[in-house]
Symmetry: D3
Subunit: 243 residues, 6 copies
């Protein structure tokens, strides 16, 4: 089985880190390939960057349509997820949704901890229809590069944030954002709750869906688009929509 | 006051129709200018097209940042609305949200009627937090060009759909999609409920917000982005994010 | 255009303050007239007073039916709003609903700050169907007259309350209650979020609806009442219901 | 125990019918007295009438404050319920809320059937926080007087409406509106679901609350009002608020 | 009238305490009998114990089917409530649901305070469809036996928890768990809000339903089961399901 | 990897059918073992049977605690799911929840079709927090044995029910109830939407969770119970709770 891990920002180091995370999570027979968009934000931290990254991500996916068995979106905002799901001929799963659904199968409510502003994550969980299972959102005050430079310092900030989410009723905690990849392993045994890494969750969910071999819906808003006229798009993306 | 009516698809005829609709709705001192994206779908009818159109729309907006007093998004999917609102230094209002909020001030619950699949409109109303005020969604079985070629034929299909929404408890009906522009006037007196044209509603809301002269939030997820690094974007869009 | 600013309590000084606020917000061609009920509470601060004020308000409105182009309800509890909307032949908008819908077009979630108990405001936002967009409610511990006597003292209490709402995810803050009129201007530049004055928002929304010239629904629970038999009511109110 | 059955409209025949219904439902030691407002609508069928009736109802209640052990609001719109509850020194229960809570203790979801428009009942159930337990709303096309003149004709229309609500998942059906009083008995054995008469439910709930002898909250928005200044009100109502 | 107070755990002392509480709340003509399951947990404090207790409780109820006029489930988790309601030929009411519905008729939102983890109570209130009326959940850090050994010490911990719920908007507070029985009386006059004892509330609600004499639904998921084949069950329980 | 497929009713033929379904869905290295409760209903079709089956199911699980890597609950009511999840030292997944979460990753909203009454499925989807993603529930009028005796006759009834759910906005349809096992394969290519078999979905999700190797929460309402005193229980179940 061949899974594409598609980053939505243009930072190749993040693509590689996510691909490594996917490879650790993948079953032995799974081949993980990775891709980085041609254009867009270095890191997504505003709403406009997220929209632009959606286009960039769809362009990347179109290059791989028909050549992979599933796609993992390596972006914690689940950027362009429903669009990718409709457009691609194979299963598409994204980081945060996969972590949310995994969390729902190991406990009641879950928390999410990330860097910076949490409101777009609240919107994301609501978009997935899971607001009733969200115990709380936590934010730690560190810059993303610290996670690499001083992981124990970041861990020391994560642990009380996780405790606070436990006190709000969380049974597990999603690590939001690629910079926290690997902290599930680092904090195993130290945190009172299971920690969920989005790329790992999404990789396992993608494998699960490939094995399920479900047909695409032939009707409704997730049926594959066809015959769409476009202008100025990458040739393969245009072809996929126009086919 | 100068308002930009920004289409999200690349069909100039639709841009012009929306601009005309905005001009009819605008106050006497308001200048309406219009813009069409450089790239993207001819018409948005899949989720992927909507994402791509979001990028195209932001690019168009960036060309006008600082030169207009407000923006009307002339796209019934409210494409990239929150992103545009965060990014632009002026008020941004979109068709369907403006129609929804107008509907909320003239009755209790509202309906929406459109061509084709209604599920993305259900998601849109939910995204705006207004699911509790949605009485129902109706769909008429016509192709968009018929609205121009045989408006009375389309009217004959709209009226029973409006009656059905009234029976479901709607106090007003939003006309979803640019192809239904003008049908609010055509059906005035014939329909039992007020009909809401999205571009007209958004134009009036944009004027209202310009007059309100509210400052932008300086904190949170709608504070203006700055210092964002990007790659391969239109120069003005990149500058607006990087500024 | 002629807009009636109708107070729901019997304190003329508050009517005048609200009318002044409406005049500041109104467009140049708008004439603002004001009215105060004949009976009822001096200030609404219990649920019973709010109900009584509803009747008093409808009586005031009936005196002006047919003579004004729109009505602004100058009461932060949106007292009798839906009833007034059904009864009157012109648009009716109220303070807090207008502020809520304005807030929804400049950010994601909003907060509200007021004097005293906040629970009736929570019920009000829920009644408008907007619970999902409410970030939080704040209360400052001052008596209403202080707002006039020591505005800077009140400002000093408002600012941390606004900061607290920002921390809860608000992108704007509604100033609840007539006593806070003018604090949006006073705190401009000092608060991190846009502040919304209800009377100003409602005045602009009323102008917007007058310009929209939407017909009343002819069916459903907002269609104009007629042929209603009543007893002991003010003659014009009885006539409006019985007509 | 002495229970006041307070009508909110001015039609004494309806007051008497409701009092009779309360007496049938009451325990042997309960004395039921009845009261009709001095002013207001003959029958409530618009939103404005409902607001006016709220004031009229509070005035009636104030005449009895301190002289009754509980109040039953004999109005299917639960008019002024929360206000009456805050204002009165004794328990206050209303028709539809009592029927809803009774329904919740005999099944999962419930339906409601009434004459005419159902939307205000949908709002009412939502105001009580029970939207999740509402299976559906039904409307029968008869004028209220028919219920007296041709009860079997009305029964013949009620039965299919009840069946339709059963098919939507209702486990019981609330009879909405005083005109349907007694149809719970008339249809016993003929309808597949238990039918709930609001006045009877409220009378039993009022007795239950009297026996519970719970203190009033001393804080929050249901604590008794005091020291309120008013103008032009009935003397006892003014005294109750001002005390 | 004869009411069965059925405990769901196997601790007879708790059964007796609950029966005593029911007798204090019951009307003079009501006979209260009590029953304890034959098997199951000594105290329910895990999800598995709650499921097992559900079976044990149904077995106890089956022994009394046809011999009592109503059942009070003396278990704060409302264990097996809907099942008991469907199965038994008489009304069944449980502690926490009865307290919730009572709370809804004396104020707007309510709180609940208990020992230990509160999340299963949040799930319970949500299961009853009342999440919108829950102001908050509080937990005090004491072991259940302390309530008997040092009631004033427990009271000293309850009072600040009640104050905290008042500050969150509660108009009344439910005492969760049998160990807190009697604290409503002990704290009367000391707490700012009415306190609700579940067994007392349920007893009064059961009496109310007996007096209502509503028929069981003949259709839907609460219609009495019949003809069900089972294996290895208590003979009377098997007979009740198979009848 | 060793997965236990645990039926909750006592019909071994259904256990075997579910185990066969699990084996078809399982990866090559997965061993599926099956178990049937010692006592309880032959088929669960009332609320009481569901509660009893919960106990029976926990007893079966306790026999296998520590000997399997995961558990699949082969019961479409997700009976005792949260309790089993808390109690067992390994992942536990149930039929309908797994189908729901799978559905959420291949489309927007889903439908569910089953035999007989649908209301308990509505409650189940709500219990999982997914009411917002439920497009509709369908029921076909056949007895369960027909699915074996006349599968094409049942298929002929399923297809229009699936079409009806598609028209309500479903992007996939869950087959509710063990009797419909295998109809996903039978209708592949004939139905317009992907069909989801609960046991197959749960088996794949269980494998996924085993591979994730997440620790159990050490705090909160899903932490493993210990030290619980019980009476009259199966020895292994008692030991697991008392351990």
């Amino acid at each position: 089985m061949r899974i594409l891990v598609a980053n939505a920002n243009t930072t190749e180091a993040i693509t590689e880190a996510c691909a490594a995370s996917a490879r650790r999570a993948a079953a032995s027979g799974t081949e993980v390939i990775a891709a980085t968009p041609r254009f867009g934000p270095a890191v997504i931290s505003s709403r406009a960057e997220n929209i632009i990254a959606g286009h960039a991500l769809l362009e990347v996916l179109a290059q791989h349509a028909g050549q992979v068995d599933a796609v993992v979106l390596a972006v914690s905002h689940d950027t362009a997820l429903e669009a990718a799901r409709q457009m691609m001929p194979c299963p598409v799963v994204s980081m945060t949704e996969a972590a949310c659904f995994t969390a729902c199968m190991i406990g009641g409510r879950f928390g999410l901890v990330t860097f910076g502003n949490v409101e777009t994550y609240r919107e994301l969980v609501t978009r997935h229809g899971l607001a009733g299972r969200l115990a709380g959102l936590g934010s730690i005050d560190v810059a993303a590069p610290e996670a690499v430079r001083d992981p124990e310092g970041v861990a020391a900030k994560l642990l009380p944030a996780i405790d606070a989410l436990a006190a709000q009723g969380a049974d597990s905690v999603i690590l939001g954002g690629a910079a926290l990849a690997g902290f599930d392993e680092r904090l195993k045994g130290r945190a009172p709750l299971p920690l969920l890494d989005g790329v790992a969750c999404a990789t396992r969910m993608a494998e699960m869906l490939v094995r399920a071999a479900l047909p695409k819906p032939r009707t409704g808003s997730f049926a594959a688009p066809s015959g769409r006229a476009t202008k100025g798009l990458d040739a393969r993306l245009a072809a996929l929509l126009g086919g």
